[in-house]
């Protein structure tokens, strides 16, 4: 199974953590889950 270099960077480098936009989306998703689970 081939894997694109973008995915490779995600695993080998700082990956998603280094992307402020993606980081913000993941943090926001977890915050939303926390909010719903606490309701």
């Amino acid at each position: 199974m081939s894997r694109g270099s973008g995915a490779q960077r995600l695993i080998d480098g700082p990956g998603l953590v280094a992307d402020p936009g993606i980081r913000q989306r993941i943090t926001g998703a977890l915050a939303e889950l926390a909010r719903v689970s606490a309701a």
Partner: protein
Amino acid sequence: MRRVLLISGSLRARSTNTASLRTAAVVAPAEVECSLYTGLGLLPHFNPDDDEGPLDPAVEDLPHRVHEADALVFSTPEYAGALPGSFKNLLDWTIGDDHRAAIHEKPVAWFNVSTRGAVATHHSLRTVLGYAHALIVEEACLEVPVPSA
């Protein structure tokens, strides 16, 4: 503090999906404590006949981890247009748990991190989670396209 269990649908050591969940653990907000489930490869094939004691240790551990969590996040690849067999196996073991903290009505979401998307597998995941009566939190489901070049 809310506890979120992160479950990867991939057994691959260098999985993009697992990487996304490790990222989630790093960037989680202060009020969220994440833990990554690592027992996917230890679960035996689901057999309803084996759903009562004495249980395989991996089968016994999975519901405990689910019960301890306030919410679940999945990230799974798509294999041949469907859920990976090992991941579907995990989901099968979670169905029918009548504990008050089981997946029933538990908030769940998924992150899709891939170059090609995984429409079929997330459609299938939605069906299974619906069957389990999990509470799918649409606002927390993420599509994160990864560039292929």
